[in-house]
């Protein structure tokens, strides 16, 4: 079975094709002109390069957040429509969990970070153990300091992945490391492996049901609730 995977949650547009769990091709492009323009031509090129016919695609896997709101919607709208048109499976995986699959190595704490604006990050912590990715701390919006403190609280060395380009290794506390540059950015191959590991848990019965995982509400809603004097917190 051919699996098409994509991730547009961050600043890269990344797509991959796998055949029966083996990577056949992956392309990751920094999209200066935006993912809206790049995603579909990139998918078209990928299929051509691998000489895969559209009807051979058995599943589409997509990264569903958290990340750039617009980027997530580009990815999900595209993936939903492809899966519906092809009548194939649609698999959704968390962006942070997919990032953890960039470095599936035992004995480490994996701390993916995605930009949550205003100096904040979306962060969750994972540990790869006996072939499984375990979530040890669930996703939250935290400041840079909180993110580092959460990573440092674990005994094992922690690796920061994702949108870590503003961080410097020399500023990090002992035991916290930036992942090698080649492993920092979202990778469609990791989306694919996360989806394969999740199996049926990643699948949706109806492609329209797969929605972005924003974590944060829109600013307008937060502002409105503050004005109404309602305590915010629950989604």
């Amino acid at each position: 079975m051919w699996l098409l995977a994509m991730d547009t949650a961050g600043k890269v547009c990344t797509t991959a094709l796998l055949k029966d769990e083996t990577v056949v091709a992956e392309e990751t492009v920094h999209r200066l002109l935006g993912q809206a323009e790049g995603l579909l031509p990139q998918i078209e090129q990928l299929l051509q390069n691998c000489q895969v016919k559209k009807e051979e695609i058995g599943a589409v896997a997509v990264s569903r957040g958290p990340g750039s709101f617009t980027g997530l919607r580009i990815g999900l709208s595209t993936a939903q429509a492809l899966a519906w048109a092809w009548g194939c499976k649609l698999l959704g995986v968390g962006t942070l969990e997919a990032l953890a699959y960039n470095l599936p190595v035992e004995g480490l704490i994996l701390s993916p970070l995605m930009d949550a604006q205003k100096g904040n990050y979306y962060q969750a912590l994972y540990r790869f153990k006996e072939g499984n990715m375990e979530e040890i701390v669930p996703v939250a919006v935290v400041s840079k300091e909180e993110a580092l403190a959460r990573a440092a609280a674990c005994a094992e060395p922690a690796y920061l992945l994702g949108e870590v380009q503003k961080l410097r290794q020399e500023e990090l506390p002992a035991g916290i490391f930036l992942a090698p540059p080649a492993l920092q950015q979202p990778k469609a191959v990791s989306v694919a492996y996360a989806a394969l590991a999740l199996g049926e848990k990643a699948a949706v019965d109806d492609p329209a049901l797969l929605q972005p995982c924003y974590i944060r509400r829109s600013e307008a809603e937060e502002l409105w609730e503050r004005r109404q004097g309602i305590k915010s917190g629950n989604e």
Binding site: L33, G34, A36, E37, G38, L39, L40, P41, I43, E44, K54, F69, T70, R73, I74, L76, S77, T78, A79, Q80, A81, L82, W84, A85, W86, P207, A208, Q211, P212, Y214, S218, E219, A220, E221, W224
Partner: protein, 338 residues
Amino acid sequence: MKEDIYILGIESSCDETAAAVVKNGREVLSNVIASQVPVHRKFGGVVPEIASRQHIQAVLPVIRQALDEAKVAQKELTAVAVTYGPGLVGALLVGLSAAKALAFALDRPLIGVNHLEGHVFANFLAEPELEPPFLALVVSGGHTSLLKVTDYNAFSLLGETRDDAAGEAFDKVARYLGLPYPGGPEIEKLAQKGDPSALAFPIARLASPYDFSFSGLKSAVINYVHSQVQAGRPVVKADVAASFQKTIIAALVNKTIAAARAEGLTQIALAGGVAANKMLQKTLSEAAAAAGARLIHPAPILCTDNAVMIASRGYYLYKAGIRSPLSLNAAPALGLGG
């Protein structure tokens, strides 16, 4: 016998997620609209991020419903037409991404449609015999433009607003009067109970004969209300609404008739959300008749944002051999007659 052409239209430029199937450019097989108006009401206007979130929830269900109601299978579609501008960029990208993916997945041509041209094409569905040339007055929350339609794919812009769009002036005045969003229909409703000659509001005179300006009118209305309140005098909201509406409609009608006369056009088409205003329809229709022209306007359901008009516009682009690449991006500030 030529083969029938089935176009799927998709629209997500503002606060309606819409999909439609149109046969041969003029036969509506389905028209599905998921409106977000109630969601935005508490904010007093469209919130872009919330609009985008609503679109991604609605886009695929709306497309499926459009095909189901039309009883047209994916494979029977000839092409996919989609609004790529103007509008809210995040909102546009939801419909555009789905359209591109569908066109690619089904091996069908993608046709990017200018939303404003779509509004004009709603008139072809209102009146199956309508053929160019005609004059179009596009009036919406974002635009006020006079367009000469010489052929299905040839337009020239005669004039447009220098500042606020007509619909924007309606909405802003409505908000100032404390009316709920969207304000246009509320002003129209309130105006029915008021005296349109109660108050005299000024309208800008511009050197360019077919350009519009409504920000002065809007300010005059707001200043009037403000000064009445300051002085402790009553504000008869119905009179304000009626007088404002009369003034703005007079400006729209006068310039439209002048343009029709100067261009020798005997068909005038009304388009855009404000085209649903009954008083505008009536006044323009009477003025057109007096000038030897006739007015065409879409049914209310095709005045608001919809995908039927996008599919219809897409059909004529398709017939002209116009296709869009899969790299098509949203064009939030796309203009008319370019």
